[in-house]
């Protein structure tokens, strides 16, 4: 009975792993970010660089000591962001945002944005690298 359960658990884990592997393969790798980690940041928009090759948001985040640290949130190309539902007018300086993304490998205050929302929870970008936005 124990071995049966083990096999079932192993099989389930394999299925889940395989499905996740498919998701991982489907994304383009972006050098410089640790895609195995995810961080959540709350901050205030300073500027949106609405340019190719990749749009990025510069925003201030309060650290443990209460200092404002300037972060960069990298998105995707201008056309991909338009397909994803974000325009140059979506965010303006002073907007409060929540960024979920991968941190920079170098430990710098940078994130590859996976999900971008307003502080009130309104979704701005669901997944800037999802293929169906292309």
């Amino acid at each position: 009975m124990t071995s049966t359960r083990m096999i079932r658990v192993t099989a389930f884990a394999l299925v889940v792993f395989t499905m996740l592997a498919g998701v991982v393969f489907a994304h383009h790798s972006r050098a410089g970010y640790d895609d195995k980690k995810q961080i959540t940041l709350k901050g205030v928009v300073k500027e949106v660089a609405w340019r190719n090759p990749h749009v990025y948001v510069i925003f201030g985040v309060k650290d443990d000591k209460g200092n404002i640290v300037q972060w960069t949130g990298e998105l995707s190309s201008v056309s991909t962001m338009l397909a994803a539902g974000m325009s140059k007018d979506t965010l303006k300086a002073g907007d409060e945002i929540v960024v979920i993304g991968s941190p920079a490998e170098a430990g710098t205050p940078q994130s590859l944005v996976a999900k971008l929302s307003r502080a009130d929870g309104t979704l701005i970008v669901a997944d800037s690298y999802r293929r169906d936005t292309r």
């Binding site: 498919g22 489907a26 050098a31 539902g85 490998e105 169906d132």
Partner: protein
């Protein structure tokens, strides 16, 4: 007990196989609207009377446009190639159009080696010598991609047919090439190399055949994974064959003849490029100052690489 274990094994194997097949099938269709989930958010609507750019559509927009523009079963003229074609490379990002080259000559091997960049301590390809692609590891200076690399990197192109020439406009890098159809021959010794080549075209039945030579040998035929690119010489000649199979599909095959670089002609598989209704070309320039800013402010700090 044994029977139960056996049953469980069979079910488990079936589940794993099903997951592998579904995952592989999804992966194999990369660049071909593989993701059929509805988008989480609608795309940005273009100004009234204007259309979206080819990559400004999400897959939901594309599905709707194919219905609205009645692509399925639409009548067409085989010798009319007008329209916007493709949006996401040919055969998916970076191939498989030029994935498997014929054997390189000695000269070709040297050129190929010269395209390889640098690795970091972890063995990752972080500094590319690509000066014209869109790779994350490169310090792009916006050199022209040239042809046929621009074909493989297709962000959407449009054919405009005139009595004496066919113009091919490209969304990526906002450039074009002229394919002369007035009966002239390719120059035996082109007076200057062209990034996009010297191009002539003619019809063979319903197939539009484009022949080119006089290429600038600084461009790559295509980038290669995980680093570098496939080189060519200034002796390269390219033959392209375009056949409109139906209103919504263009079948294309390329042959690269470059005996200085490859010991055999490089014949690509036949690729189908889809019409992208509801779109028009916008302006996707490669702007050197924008790429510089991105490289210095975002890419290099994130990687910790010093170039």
């Amino acid at each position: 007990m044994k029977l139960e274990v056996r049953k469980s094994l069979i079910v488990s194997t079936f589940l794993v196989l099903a997951a592998v097949i579904s995952s592989s099938a999804a992966f194999a269709q990369e660049g071909r609207e593989r993701d059929v989930r509805p988008p989480a958010l609608p795309s940005i609507t273009p100004p009234e009377g204007w259309k979206q750019c080819p990559r400004c559509q999400n897959n939901d927009d594309r599905r709707k446009a194919r219905v609205n523009y009645k692509v399925e079963g639409h009548e067409f003229k085989p010798q009319d190639l007008s329209g916007v074609w493709g949006y996401d490379g040919v055969g998916g990002d970076r191939g498989p159009t030029f994935r498997t080259p014929p054997p390189l000559t000695e000269w070709g091997k040297e050129r190929r080696q010269a395209t390889m960049g640098k690795l970091n301590d972890k063995g990752e390809h972080v500094v590319s010598k690509d000066t014209s692609g869109l790779g994350g590891a490169s310090r792009i200076n916006c050199d022209p991609m040239g042809y046929p690399r621009l074909y493989t990197y297709n962000y959407g192109f449009e054919f405009v047919q005139l009595p004496d020439r066919v113009l091919q406009f490209f969304e990526l890098n906002h450039t074009w090439r002229t394919i002369w159809t007035d009966g002239r021959k390719l120059p035996a010794n082109p007076p200057e190399p062209h990034w996009m080549g010297w191009n002539i075209g003619h019809w063979e039945g319903d197939t539009f055949v484009v022949e080119s030579n006089g290429f600038d040998e600084r461009s790559w035929i295509d980038g290669s994974e995980p680093d570098g690119g496939w080189p060519h010489s200034d002796e390269m000649r390219v033959v392209e064959r375009y056949h409109r199979m139906n209103y919504g599909t263009l079948e294309v095959q390329l042959t690269v003849n470059d005996p200085k670089t490859y010991t055999q002609p490089w014949v690509t598989k036949q690729s189908n490029i889809s019409l992208v209704p509801g779109t028009e070309l916008w302006e996707n320039f490669c702007v050197p100052s924008d790429y510089d800013t991105f490289t210095n402010d975002v890419y290099l700090p994130a990687t910790g690489v010093k170039q």
